[in-house]
Symmetry: none
DNA sequence: AGGTAACCGAGACGGTACGTCACGTCTTCAC
DNA sequence: GTGAAGACGTGACGTACCGTCTCGGTTACCT
């Protein structure tokens, strides 16, 4: 569940949509500039003026196509979500998969003023950005459902396990501790949160609503 | 673990501290104005100008004493944390306590643009606000340790259970789902998250590091 | 040597330069407002805010184009210096010319809080204004050299007379008495100062350095 | 006619008038601070706050006793005018005396941002300062009348010569050139202006009004 | 190939908020 | 009870971005 990848994965092969046209080139320059500025100074550094200057493009152009900072962020996020081939780790065990996932999140969030942090901060002030971020995460959680399916297939979890709830329980503590509580980074956290979620899952805590909890499938 | 109470817990007893002093009166007016504006328009509505006007006080006075919006929020939070008598619920069971706690959080976060949301948004842009929020939460989690102690006393949990980890696991999904993922509010969420955390705790997932979980030791 | 004309010489023909462009219109409005405010309240009344309001223009626009009050004054002066057709009086005699010149200065300075006074006051606090004022005066003294040339042509003065020195001697007492000493206005002053300067000139006091005064040299 | 002495002649031996009382000490500290600040940053640096801090006195005290910056300057000037023993030079000739006088003025004005310049600048914005400066100069011109008397006694000038007019003619060009026109400092200026004034005087240009010009007295 | 419509560059403007400085008044608290 | 210390109201400063507008000049694409 890496939130830092969206901005990257996009600056290298700008092939698609840049059909030689100036418009496509401008878009690429602007989106790149957004990423750079986010890394450098967080959301507060992400002014339309700065983006335009960084992208070597005129302010007016940015306003014309993206309307405001929220639109910029949404475009960046959606662009990243579009052409990314991320898939959840497959370590052979539920704990292993969850821990690996958490480690990605941890790395993205613990690294000082990361793009992830900036995007999340932005989402509190821009509906567009919030929407795009929600879509991004929804996509990621969807893909991660594979982790749960595999555990079910292994007989490790009951068939009715609510994948989304399990994944949220596993990852939420990382966001909470690192972003909100702002505790000191604790390298053991990813594993412990993964373990706790796995334990709860085995105890049947995420049995789907229409299934009796505790009565974990065959 | 209610993050919305801080601002409110202060407007009711406006008597104290206003012992005739103009300064104290000004402070109270300003802090009240902050609360009102946060509720009305969220963090983005919290400009120094607006606060000053609302408080019937001059702009420069606000700058003199609080320096910026972050300082205002920090003062509000600290003031709230100072004179508040909040204590965790005591329902007689671990699940019950955690669910009640979660319900408070849920109510605070699900209510549209709440003060809590605004404060959290602010914490991403103001170190002072972030610090005050961290202090506030630290205090709350500390008090909530009682919930775990009681469970231990009841023989419900192992003596070495890491209260903070347990509480974070219980509450984090709420913040994650409501603030970050921005899912539709789900009234069952508080209870489910509480249940999952309790299940993990009983499975020994929060055994303190130096102690064997569940006495599984050597 | 009238220092008050610059601002005025510009409000009458408001047609030119306002060729439909908004920028030109704004400039004209602002420069007019400067003149009006200077007359009404002197230099201290010349705040950027007041100018902007008077001109029906936004504060930031003034800052953008003129930076500060000094820039405004410099522009006003330069604009006045640009399109003005002033030329020194020609009365047929040196004393007559100098007296007429002095009378212009006297009228400009004796009239209460004149624009001239305000400009001079401003020049003590704004390098730009000081520069513009210096340029303005240099231009005027240059044109006035004609007065001396004519006297030379009439055989009234030696060919090597230093025009600038003579003119300064003639006009300086007016500025000194009216602006610095702040004596009561004395209507005879222009003539007396002119007479004294002419007398000194005839006595050879302004013979250029390399030439003997009065042609006494070999 | 040195305008820079007022502030200076007062910082070294602060003995007189400071008869031990706290009030007197405070006054001395404040007036000293005014002088220092004027030298350091000109009139714009002369804020009540800065004076108070420099003098080690509370703002309120300054407001109580001097009301504003104008009052401060007036007090400084009057204090300087009170205890100063300045007398005009006596070189044995009119030109010599006038040149020496002019040299004093020149030195005071040519030295970059001098106190003199600051005081004159201040006089444009503070009626009190303007009044005090006028009184100061009136006193100096009065004393300088001795220069003219001596010339008359020597038979160098007519008895009816208007001393004030002569002195103004001699000194005015310095102020005009150095303060208003802001020309490059020209070391020959003091002597030339003195010579021109003396020449005009000998030509009878400053014969008192009630006497026929040219018919210089017996 | 050429014309047209979309797009971009350029720059000014009105506007909101910022954070600062100095002024001059007024209030409070300690002596 | 008074006067120094300090807070406040007030007005101006100069700045940063915002979002809008109007030009004029390219550029891409489509007959």
């Amino acid at each position: 569940m890496d939130t830092s990848t969206p901005a990257s994965g996009h600056s290298e092969p700008p092939a698609r949509r840049r059909t030689g046209g100036r418009s496509a080139r401008v878009r690429a320059q602007v989106l790149d500039a957004v990423g750079v500025l986010l890394v450098e100074g967080g959301y507060d550094a992400l002014t339309v003026d700065a983006v335009a200057e960084r992208a070597g493009v005129h302010r007016t152009t940015v306003y014309r196509r993206w309307r405001d900072v929220g639109g910029l962020l949404a475009d960046v996020l959606d662009a990243a979500a579009a052409d990314d081939t991320w898939s959840p780790p497959d370590t052979g065990s539920l704990e292993g998969d969850l821990t690996a996932l958490n480690q990605e999140v941890y790395d993205a969030l613990a690294a000082g003023p990361s793009v992830s942090t900036a995007l999340i901060a932005a989402s509190f002030r821009s509906p567009e950005a919030a929407g795009a971020l929600a879509r991004f995460w929804a996509d990621r959680y969807e893909r991660c459902a594979a982790v749960v399916s595999r555990a079910v297939a292994r007989g490790d979890l009951g068939a009715a396990t609510d994948a989304h709830a399990l994944l949220v329980t596993a990852t939420a503590p990382l966001y909470h501790v690192l972003l909100l509580l702002r505790d000191e980074p604790d390298p053991g956290l990813p594993r412990r949160a993964a373990t706790a979620a796995a334990a709860a899952a085995r105890a049947g805590a995420f049995a789907a609503r229409d299934t009796a909890p505790g009565g974990a499938g065959p």
